[in-house]
């Protein structure tokens, strides 16, 4: 890769089907390395950074190239990232235009200390978690998610333009966007609910092994509406027109985490909440593996920095086989047996 974040130029060959540890101090570029590998799959920063931030200062373009091997199949991915322009993506030297085309050939599961927001943060973090797992598991969900976001933008803009007016003209146009939102939104909600049902046993099992708590961690999807979304939108129309925003739909739903029938946020200790986020990531990894039929690459960015030795050993014990790339600022995590260890200092890998 070239000119990605603070990395001038870097070549990296992780061990195949095994764990590679990258040791580097803060600011050495190890998170940038993980971010670049994640970008190869999703064309997004897992940290949610804007694209401009991904190009090294003083350069107008970042470049990433990767050789992927799956059994005997070899795939070359090449990405040119220029702020203000669409990414130029080549798959085996062929130009592709949909981000789903990359997700179809390469998936990652990322663990970071920031994952704690999955438990502690606002519902949008948990919705994003579900939608990202859906996207990683099938290209059709990427399209669906974008459609829902776009209909919502159209509908919310119309609500604001109406400015409280309820003329027959406004209602006639609103009804059309309601129908579009009802169809796309209901499809997304149904997909999320099916995913939660699939994730739940994996989350419970991983959480039990990580914490040895008697009470299981329970997942439930909470809709923001009763009945069909179409009916709910009609019922909420006056309210929506008054507030200028859509108050029902997938953008208001939540994934509820509970232990012993109580909200995980108040019921679980800080350490147990960390275990809950690890369980969510491990479960996502399993579900994507099941749905895709092949294992995503595990990316663990400084994931052990906030864990004590027991929790570190727990996570290492839970990590499934397959390729894993793990970064750490200090010593190797206790109990890890990486196939290779590389050192990164000031953007230079040795």
């Amino acid at each position: 890769m070239r000119d990605f974040r603070n990395l001038d130029q870097l070549q990296f060959s992780p061990s195949r089907g095994a764990m590679t540890v990258v040791v580097g101090e803060n600011g050495s570029g190890k998170t940038s390395l993980i971010e670049a590998i994640g970008y190869l799959s999703t064309l997004r920063s897992f940290r949610g950074s804007p694209r401009e931030a991904l190009v090294r200062r003083g350069s107008d373009q970042a470049w990433i190239r990767a050789e992927l091997a799956d059994g005997t199949r070899r795939i070359t991915v090449e990405i040119e990232l220029t702020p203000g322009r669409r990414d130029r993506v080549l798959l085996n030297r062929q130009r592709v235009t949909r981000s789903e085309d990359l997700l179809d050939v390469f998936q990652v599961t990322v663990f970071t200390p920031d994952d704690l927001v999955l438990v502690k943060g606002a519902p949008e973090y948990r919705r994003d978690y579900l939608d990202e797992v859906l996207e990683a598991s099938s290209s059709r969900f990427g399209v669906l998610r974008r459609n829902v976001e776009r209909v919502l933008r159209q509908r919310n803009t119309l609500l604001r333009q109406a400015n409280g007016r309820t003329s027959s003209e406004v209602i006639a146009t609103l009804e059309v966007w309601d129908r579009q939102l009802a169809a796309a939104g209901e499809a997304l909600v149904t997909a999320r609910e099916a995913l939660v049902t699939e994730l739940a046993p994996h989350v419970a099992a991983a959480f039990r092994r990580l914490t040895r708590l008697p009470d299981p961690l329970e997942l439930s999807y909470r809709r923001s509406y009763d009945g069909t979304l179409g009916e709910a939108l009609v019922a909420a129309r006056d309210e929506d027109l008054r507030r200028g925003v859509t108050t029902m739909g997938p953008q208001r739903d939540d994934l509820f985490l509970a232990s012993a029938a109580l909200d995980a946020r108040s019921r679980l200790s800080q350490g147990q909440q960390r275990a809950a986020t690890l369980a969510l990531r491990l479960a996502a990894h399993e579900v994507v593996t099941e749905r895709r039929g092949n294992r995503p690459v595990l990316l663990l960015d400084d994931a052990f920095s906030e864990l004590d030795d027991a929790a570190t050993a727990g996570l290492l014990g839970e990590l499934p086989d397959g390729q894993a790339i793990l970064t750490t600022a200090g010593a190797l995590p206790v109990g890890s047996h990486p196939a290779s260890v590389r050192r990164l200092a000031s953007g230079v890998l040795t």
Binding site: S139, R140, R155, T173
Partner: protein, 155 residues
């Protein structure tokens, strides 16, 4: 010369296609079927439909699709003109040929609701698989839509 093109082109007074005469060649052609009206977003879409040689009716150019984000509501489209044509002319079928995306679908739905009470047949172009394509390589959304719009095989 480009200057000349810009100065001479006008919009057809009936269908709003780009033309150099008051009526475009399609609207002026008496052999075109006046009972079928194909509604498109843009004059370029007429060129696309004409290339198929499958359609012998006339056109109506809306001038876009519903999109509140871009400030486009029904008033910004040539909807009133469309209604006037249907009431004045002998239109029996309106074919909604807007793009198969979110905005195009919304526009088609809006027009369908507006036109049905007028007693005119309203149809939407099918969307689905490319001819000569391979099912295995079709994206799920397109294939899903093709399945939704399936029809009986003549036997």
């Amino acid at each position: 010369m480009i200057v000349e093109v810009k100065e001479k082109t006008v919009l057809c007074s009936a269908c709003f296609n780009v033309t150099v005469s008051p009526l475009c060649p399609i609207c002026a052609d008496p052999r075109r079927d006046a009972t079928q009206l194909c509604v498109v977003e843009d004059p370029r879409d007429i060129v696309a439909v004409e290339r198929t040689r499958e359609f012998r009716g006339r056109y109506h150019v809306l001038g876009g699709a519903l999109s509140p984000i871009e400030g486009v509501g029904p008033e910004q489209l040539r909807v009133r003109e469309l209604l006037a044509r249907i009431e004045a002319d002998e239109v029996a079928e309106v074919i909604l040929c807007t793009n198969p995306n979110l905005e195009g679908d919304a526009t088609a739905m809006y027009l369908a609701r507006l036109l049905r009470p007028l007693g005119v047949k309203v149809t939407r172009i099918a969307s689905g698989l490319p001819v000569g394509g391979d099912l295995e390589y079709a994206d799920e959304l397109t294939l899903g839509r093709a399945l939704e719009g399936r029809r009986e095989v003549d036997a």
